[in-house]
Symmetry: C2
Subunit: 249 residues, 2 copies
Amino acid sequence: MTQTREEFEARLRQIGAERYHDKHPFHDMLHGGRCSPDQVRAWVINRYYYQHSIPMKDAAFMSRVEDPELRRMWRSRIEDHDGTETNPGGIKRWLKLAEAVGLNPDYVASTEGVLPATKFAVDAYVRFVRDKTLLEAVAASLTELFAPKIHAQRIEGLLQNYDFADDSSLSYFRNRLKEAPKDVAFGLAWVLDHATTQEKQDAAAKALEFKTDVLWAQLDALYSAYVAPARVPPGAWVAGEGMALARAS
Amino acid sequence: MTQTREEFEARLRQIGAERYHDKHPFHDMLHGGRCSPDQVRAWVINRYYYQHSIPMKDAAFMSRVEDPELRRMWRSRIEDHDGTETNPGGIKRWLKLAEAVGLNPDYVASTEGVLPATKFAVDAYVRFVRDKTLLEAVAASLTELFAPKIHAQRIEGLLQNYDFADDSSLSYFRNRLKEAPKDVAFGLAWVLDHATTQEKQDAAAKALEFKTDVLWAQLDALYSAYVAPARVPPGAWVAGEGMALARAS
């Protein structure tokens, strides 16, 4: 049976309550100050691959949208990440964080050393948005509903627990706190407007679950590779690689 | 510099020696009899997703091949997996194994409960074959160079260590021992014939590395979810689900 707007929104929020990656043990380790410097670096290196793919995901979405108004709304997401004349953008801010934790930003930007499992998960998201219905693509973006809480916790936890954390290194998260709410308000309203049958609601809910899987799999891969008993897969980053000092040599 | 045929073949074999998934700790656990029945089931459920995707991968390849002769050679791979009038095929044989370990084959065939990370990795392989050059697609299949050894070990190790193992439940592996050598002999010769420049050799070697990543990531995901300290991701198979007994209810 088709759910009312309110019921359906509650269903989407419940997916976050049950499956969002703030439930993953790596999240607590990171924010609770229990990550070693190398574990923080592994997170920064791998999460960069996600950041670097998001504007491609958004361009894939826009390449399929015929309505100029919807494209115009969506375009600001690419600007937020890639930057404008007045805004360095999220990707550059992430590389500031990379520098702050002692990594060579060029190494991080090369995406060498990213775990294959991170690439498989993130690439699956880009492909999902390219291949599925627009409704499913927008619904998948709604993990942003759950992001402000995690970003606020992250800023507080990182500031409290790590020397590298300051206004400059954490500017990525502060900016996302400003940018994400407008995106997600638009995306949520769009999904609620367009998921008008049970079939569409089910597809949208499944798309949001898929996206929580994409995020969870990234933390699982990090945990498996870099938390004891650590098993770094062949070819992925090992401590000591890609450090800022290497620039001088 | 372009390598000679012999040098390049040695380079490809070296990739297997360094990165093939027989180096993964789950491999030793499984063959050494140190997997619990539920760990064997998790492996059967997840590895099924790979089996079920391989003929789609081969069809994606054939959909891009203009030479009827090459398509004709390749078609036997699909027959080996999907079956013919006289051969049940690898997928049905895998479901025999599923039954032998106490799983409901319909549950396994539904691919419900497969780890998201397994799907991301395997889907990445199908997409790779769809999107990359034919040379890279064939080179990626060359992990079969390293498979006979693992299959022989698997048969021996499973027979020695698990009650479910017998000629019927292990028929998948026995058949692969017969089928794979002809495929890989053809694939290897094709890659050696076509990788005629350094650039092409590098691309082919990278494709084979990519494929070892796909296999490794699958065992990593299994290990992370089902070997202590186990962290099953939300929604994936948990012990007790999909058992053969459920059929009677």
